[in-house]
């Protein structure tokens, strides 16, 4: 599904990603962990198509297409979803109109008619339930005045509505209390299918108690320095990141 080869990326001439290699197959959950400044958020930004980052080397293939050649909106329509670390507040745009516009824009590009209102609303109802947002936020402006937990739940709600093939959760657990964390993880788990894949980017292991990864990758200084199973996350929680850095230096 996703093939990242030797990806290098910089911002304002600072190289942040220094050769990432990663392959994600349908049905898999990958966790990318690493200390602050290791390049985790840069990786998600580059995949989602933020313009500030310059890719200097390497390639990213998504479902056979050159992802780096696509605009952010085209990536989303192709099935890439980024759950933001800091979801943006958009005053004056209601949640429901926002989603309707997003869904219908994607349908229009595929030559489909707008989704019938009834189908749309029943989908809203169904998916909102998944994250415990039943009817609550429909007419409120996108993320405006939402608590941290509400914002993150709203990200998962949007993900559920848009049904992406590849979801990238960027530090979705940061700042969440245990209840919100469970709701978010529960939502992600319910959306899992053999056809879609998830990349969970996180600093801490605790989210991985609830979203069980198939692979854990450790990112350090712009490179994946270690890959393992879910037990690697526990080891990182216990021992911190320093030993990985040392291993990487000594390797």
């Amino acid at each position: 599904m996703l093939k990242i080869k030797n990806l290098h990326a910089s911002i304002e001439d600072n190289e942040i990603l220094k050769g990432i290699n990663l392959e994600v197959k349908p049905g898999e959950v990958h966790a990318i962990m690493g200390p602050n400044g290791s390049g985790k958020s840069t990786l998600s930004s580059v995949l989602a198509g933020r313009d500030e980052y310059e890719v200097t080397e390497g390639s990213v293939e998504f479902l056979g297409q050159d992802l780096l050649d696509m605009e952010a909106e085209d990536r989303a329509r192709a099935g890439v979803f980024l759950a933001f670390q800091y979801p943006v507040e958009i005053p004056g745009v209601s949640n429901i109109n926002f989603l309707k516009t997003a869904i219908n824009e994607a349908r229009e590009k595929k030559g489909l008619e707008p989704m019938p209102a009834k189908e749309f609303l029943s989908r809203v109802k169904e998916k909102a339930k998944l994250v415990g947002l039943e009817g609550k936020f429909n007419n409120r402006s996108v993320n405006e005045g939402f608590s941290g937990g509400e914002k993150k739940r709203n990200e998962i709600f949007q993900m559920a509505m848009l049904e992406p093939k590849l979801a990238i959760l960027d530090e979705t657990d940061s700042g969440l209390d245990i209840d919100a964390l469970k709701v978010v993880a529960d939502g992600v788990n319910k959306l899992k299918s053999p056809d879609n894949a998830t990349i969970v980017i996180t600093h801490y292991q605790r989210l991985l108690d609830y979203i069980i990864p198939d692979y854990v990758h450790v990112l350090s200084n712009g490179k994946i320095v270690k890959t393992g199973g879910k037990e690697l996350a526990l080891e990182l929680e216990e021992r911190g990141y320093d030993w990985i850095k040392e291993e990487a230096v000594n390797a």
């Binding site: 989602a48 198509g49 933020r50 313009d51 605009e71 952010a72 909106e73 990536r75 989303a76 329509r77 979803f81 980024l82 933001f84 979801p87 943006v88 507040e89 958009i90 005053p91 004056g92 745009v93 926002f98 989603l99 516009t101 997003a102 869904i103 824009e105 994607a106 402006s141 996108v142 949007q158 848009l162």
Partner: protein
Amino acid sequence: MLEATVEMSQKDKFLSHFGMIDFSFDKSPFKEKRKEAEDRLSNMEFPTSKTEYWKYTRVNKLIRQEYILGEQELSSEIDLGVPTENCLVFINGYYSEELSWTKSEEGIDFMPLSKAKEGNQPLADRFDQLSKKEEIFSTINSAYHQDGVFFHAKKGKLAESVYYVINISAGEKAISNPRNMVIMDEGSSAKMIFKNLSASEGYSFTNQLTEYFVGRNANLEVNKIESESDEAFLISNDECQQDESSQFKINTISLSGALLRNNLNIDLNGSHTETWMNGLSLLHGKQHVDHHTLIHHREPDCVSHELYKTIADDASTGVFNGKVYVHPIAQKTNAYQSNANMVLTDEAAVYSKPELEIYADDVKCSHGSTTGQLDEEALFYLRSRGIGQKKAIAVLLNAFLSDLVEHIGVEHLREEVQAVIDEKYSGVK
């Protein structure tokens, strides 16, 4: 012997445009009002770049032009498309009976000002009371106005119809001085729409003045739509006096025209009033739109809300100068003022000057002014959900304007303005 060459001053040259017509046909007291204004004019000059009130708006290019008093009829058809039972149409300041239509409503007087001048006492009692005597364009209007609308809602009358007034500039170089009077008696309520349109290309100059008397416990909503040709000049003076417990809302919607200047002055003459001053300006090309507002809180316990927003595209310029003056007696005043501007290009600019002058100590007043570009983070957020760049921009601009659109209390007008916004910012697909 020295030969004396008399060169006309710019002001005299400008005023000579009105010399072609004898404006002294009015009866008393209107005749005298014109004369007084004419006399005042002899001691007045046009504002210069040094005049603070006109700091960002140069009137030079406006007053240097040649003008003619325009035709009273249209040479081509125009689709007014106004879905209301009551509409008075004026062409170059003159009443067009042919294009107007009314359905009489008991308790409402709705007629050309020229007709009301023939003996309407409430008009005679109030006429020219509120106009700013030291302001030159107002004074020109008082001296040389043609016609306009007279609207009077009698005591306790709640108008059922929406009342439309359309001023059309027709023909190149047309100059006009439309003059309107709105009187709301105690406990009455009404909604009005004033529209400025052009029937032809080429420059024109409309210098209009409207006085509003909003009586005790009365409620008036005024929507002004400024939608003339891209070469048109428009100066608009709106003067309102509110009595105790009255409500007044004015939405100024500036869509097109080369140079637009709106002076809005409100006097709160009684306690417990509420006022809304809203402005929505969508600027393009080389448009220059200037809003000057002034509200005098002269009595205690009054609330005023002010919300002006501008989107400046291309090489356009917006100006906002809003002043709230709270007099010593006006305790418990609540005055909120907000000006938000979005500048879409490097060539566009908006000058914003909110002013509060407070001489009472127990008041709640706030003002805020923001000018910026589109929120890039929000734009990326929308795009990351599959919404294309152009659509995303349209969504954000719509969101920016939505609270102002909501303020329009006439549904079909709200839809009309929304359609203009949609068309203007939907972009090409």
